[in-house]
């Protein structure tokens, strides 16, 4: 198969947040990361964690549909830690890098299917997830699946 690319255009004017143009859509992204809970925009780091989680959730939906397993609801709760966010701020004397070091994710799945079947599609999804497979070599990914009724 020929290589396929996904193309986006990102524009930022003066102090305005960046606007991402993709296909027929656009969305705005704030600064790379932010410590102020009142900050008005969604940061790039939050988008990245959101994208990773959506990849997992959406992947589970896709695999379960193929296997004809009914999942009523999927919910992911995620938190990410950087190796050292202070290096991003440029604090003198801080070492390390500001990259993602650790991501904790709990994924709750509501289904009346057998738990072993759900765990099987969970494994398949992780193998096929583009973002999980991208991050896995460099970021510690602690993912937990919890099946509820």
């Amino acid at each position: 198969m020929d290589k396929v690319s996904w193309n986006l255009r990102i524009v930022a004017e003066e102090k305005e947040p960046a606007t991402v143009y993709v296909r027929k859509h656009q969305f705005r992204v704030g600064v790379p990361l932010q410590f102020d809970p009142e900050y008005q925009h969604i940061t790039a780091l939050e988008y990245a964690l959101g994208a990773l989680s959506a990849d997992v959730v959406g992947g589970l939906q896709a695999v379960s549909r193929r296997r004809r397993l009914k999942l009523y609801c999927i919910e992911a709760v995620v938190s990410g830690e950087l190796n050292n966010p202070l290096t991003y701020l440029g604090v003198v004397g801080e070492t390390g890098n500001p990259g993602l070091e650790h991501v904790n994710m709990t994924v709750y799945v509501s289904s009346t299917a057998k738990e072993e079947d759900i765990r099987e599609i969970w494994g398949e999804m992780l193998q096929k997830s583009p973002l999980v497979q991208t991050l896995k070599p460099t970021v510690k990914l602690d993912f937990v699946l919890k099946v509820t009724a």
């Binding site: 809970p37 009523y72 609801c73 919910e75 709760v77 709990t106 709750y108 509501s110 009346t112 919890k146 509820t148 009724a149």
Partner: protein, 380 residues
């Protein structure tokens, strides 16, 4: 009601549901299972819970709340003006999303797993809330029966979501008027059908006094803006007293705990009932069903004119309290209560939320059995 022995043993209400019933609850909620098919499974589950209580030797039984999805939101399908909303749906509507998220993380639950009965229209009892449950139990036991209902303060507070409820009721106090009418209709029918004990569950009362400046950890308390705790407690007293006014045929009680959603005791509220004492004493119910099996509850207090439903086992631990430990708890209560005023029960239900039991049926049974053994030992 048949004559009860000294130290009557009962439960606080809920019992773990079998997996097939949990599955059926989910299918029924999704409209994939009819009422008749669901009731057949639920009937079997209730019969099993009755049998276990009988084998354990309890003196007053409940149906284990087997038909309910949780201890308070089950009313949604039986009332007009109420919509059962998952917390996932409510995330869009609550003002303080950050606090809401913090609570969900503390509870370690998905937002889809807890549903809240939310007021979206004029509230009215469309059909009985618990009368059918009582009728079924009555047909299958000769023992006295306890029926649990969400208390009027819990109902009013948890149902009132300002962004949607204020279109119908200007304030939650206005909504409270119709909650009173609903519960009075229910009590009347339950008494007609011979309920021996009606217990109102009011877990949010502890939330009012124990969370000054702390994270709110009880779900329903996040839903309505909080006023001065003293004002809220006065409101709670007035609601319950108007609900029970004039009803004398059955024993009326109120259960107040500090949360029952997790086996991690550290996440649950802590503190003595002392700040509630002057309010609880004014509530016109005969019995206060209180948790005293953990040190989080502080010393046993004397509530003037009330019976004590003494919590003697922790429903959330796998450790089975010994008969001797339970007897010691009872003896502590007997220092301030006469024997005929002390009833025995676990601290709370074993599965307040159907999909989140805090223990297995087997452990619940063994705990009950030891309470019964302790009661027998002290009666002789």
């Amino acid at each position: 009601m048949s004559l009860l022995p000294l130290f009557p043993v009962t439960t606080v209400g809920s019992w773990p549901r079998p997996p097939e019933l949990l599955r059926a609850q989910r299918l029924r909620q999704k409209g994939e299972m009819g009422e008749e098919e669901f009731n057949k499974l639920a009937d079997d589950a209730v019969l099993k819970v009755l049998r276990l209580q009988d084998e354990a030797g309890v003196d007053m039984v409940t149906d284990g709340e087997q038909r309910r999805d949780n201890f308070y939101s089950f009313v949604a399908t039986k009332m007009e003006g109420i919509k059962l909303m998952t917390l996932a749906e409510m995330l869009d509507l609550v003002e303080d999303k950050v606090s809401f998220e913090r609570i969900l993380r503390t509870l370690d639950v998905p937002s889809y797993s807890i549903s809240n009965a939310t007021c979206i229209g004029k509230v009215k009892r469309a059909r009985p809330l618990a009368v059918q449950e009582l009728k079924f139990v009555r047909q299958h036991t000769h023992k006295p029966v306890k029926v649990t209902l969400p208390g009027p303060y819990l109902m009013t507070r948890s149902m009132y979501l300002p962004s949607v409820s204020s279109k119908v009721y200007r304030t939650k106090e206005d909504l409270g008027e119709d909650v009173i009418v609903t519960l009075r209709e229910e009590i009347y029918e339950l008494m007609e059908q011979g309920a021996d004990f009606i217990q109102f569950d009011e877990p949010v009362l502890t939330e009012l006094v124990f969370t000054q400046g702390q994270t709110r950890t009880f779900m329903c308390a996040a839903l309505a803006a909080r006023k001065d705790p003293a004002e809220e407690l006065e409101f709670a007293v007035s609601l319950i007293n108007r609900v029970v006014d004039g009803f004398h045929r059955s024993r009326l009680g109120m259960h107040i705990c500090r949360g029952n959603w997790s086996q991690d005791e550290a996440t649950l509220l802590r503190g003595s009932y002392h700040p509630l004492l002057k309010y609880l004493e004014r509530m016109k119910v005969q019995q206060l069903v209180l948790e005293y099996a953990t040190e989080r509850a502080g010393d046993i207090l004397h509530f003037e004119g009330k019976e004590l439903g003494l919590g003697v086992v922790n429903p959330r631990t796998e450790n089975i309290e010994s008969v001797e430990e339970i007897k010691q708890s009872i003896e502590r209560a007997l220092r301030i209560y006469p024997p005929d005023k002390v009833w025995l029960n676990p601290d709370c239900g074993f599965s307040s939320f159907s999909n989140r039991p805090v223990n297995s049926s087997d452990i619940a049974f063994r705990k009950l059995k030891n309470i019964v053994a302790a009661a027998h030992s002290l009666r002789t």
